[in-house]
Assembly symmetry: C2
Homo-oligomer: 219 residues x 2
DNA sequence: AAAAATATTTAGGCAAGTCTAAAAATATTT
DNA sequence: AAATATTTTTAGACTTGCCTAAATATTTTT
């Protein structure tokens, strides 16, 4: 009753795609996300279906069973706990954690997960503002919102981006906005929804397009 | 130029068997250690040989090349660092660390290893008294000795066993000797090499057979 | 030094997980 | 609703890492 690393990755991917609104997850969506071919996906979902981890009907896409969801949430819990560890204890920055957490999440040990959780003080959210399921699989909703939704007067800090194109990341860099940067929303223009924000260094105006692509957590 | 988990396990096994005195490591020795079949070992050794990680001649056993040794030492370094982490930070006991460290040692990230090392304060020895290679692969000799070799008057603590049969472990348990137990050698009988030792609780006499099967680190 | 025992390798097979190319089903256009 | 495009599945192949059974070397015994 134990899953391979690859099976775990598929379950996690199905969970995440479902989480973004899909009731049934298509073969192609999975292939894209997992950077593999559709035929490989078909192979694997048939295996997962036989194991009772997904509901699958040919050509109709796939959905996690309760058991499959349980497994997926356990992996996500481990992934996010390790991210907290890497950032808080080992000086990893926002963009360095993912690959490593992706490996650590597959380490199998109930005790390890439980002790790590305790060691970190039972965190409820990871460095990206995403919720960490507790040992029962329960979790609070995400704390992150796009900057465009923050009300004037609020102070928040950057935890991620929607559009991760290098063009956008260069823009942010040029404007002194990094992950972790604190900022205060001073005002919002009703005409074009542009915002005036204040960072430690200076005050600047950003367009709504920018504000919609930046995830923040409100303090 | 990147090795699979299985390849890493073979290299580590070859290193450990060599470390116990063997110049050439036999196929069977590897099969026993890795709990696999001799034919599987032959398969793998041939692959490692093609990769330049071992020197191999049919029927003559195998030896690590300098490159193979470098890889093996890196894995051992990671294994032992994780053992320190598990014991010192996550309350793992002596016998619980191995399986988990065995998984963690394969996580690939230079930064992770370096930061973990620093976080733990650059330890030179793991909880079993075995040396931890530094980032250059250099290490001090093992600190552990069998209790039988400890001079009267010395204080030491248990870090492991030679014979890990449950019969022996039960004996230790019954006599209040656990891993981590502090003890002082009071005297040694020249006739049968039995020893009088003192633990926190009481003073007792143990035979040479027992003393030869218990690893300790001298304080 | 031949025979017997043991160790090692080869040959052929299997499961997981991937791929390409082709076939089949579904969705979209016209 | 027929034609076209897209998506999904099947078929067949490859690699890794393991297995069993048989063949071949080496070592030990007599």
């Amino acid at each position: 009753m134990r899953n391979t690393r690859s099976e775990e990755n598929y379950l996690k991917a199905i969970y995440h795609i479902s989480d973004q609104g899909a009731v049934k997850v298509s073969t192609n969506a999975l292939a894209t996300r997992l950077m593999t071919k559709a035929s490989s996906v078909t192979d694997m979902i048939q295996r997962l279906s036989e194991k009772g981890l997904v509901n699958y009907m040919k050509y109709q896409g796939v959905r996690l069973t309760p058991e499959g969801e349980r497994v997926a949430i356990k992996i996500i819990r481990k992934h996010r706990l390790w991210e907290v560890f890497l950032v808080e204890k080992l000086n990893f920055s926002w963009d360095e954690v993912h690959d490593v957490a992706e490996q650590l999440e597959h380490v199998r040990s109930e005790k390890l997960t439980a002790e790590l959780d305790a060691y970190l003080g039972f965190p409820t959210h990871d460095p990206h503002g995403d919720p960490i399921p507790d040992s029962e699989g329960q979790f609070k909703p995400s704390q992150k919102v796009v900057l465009a939704e923050v009300d004037p007067g609020s102070v928040c800090f950057c935890v991620g981006v929607v559009d991760s194109s290098s063009k956008f990341l260069r823009y942010l860099d040029k404007n002194g906005i990094n992950l972790g940067t604190q900022l205060k929303v001073l005002s919002k223009e009703t005409f074009d929804d542009s915002m005036t924000i204040k960072t430690k260094e200076k005050t600047k105006v950003i367009s709504n397009l920018i504000a919609k692509n930046l995830y923040v957590i409100i303090n």
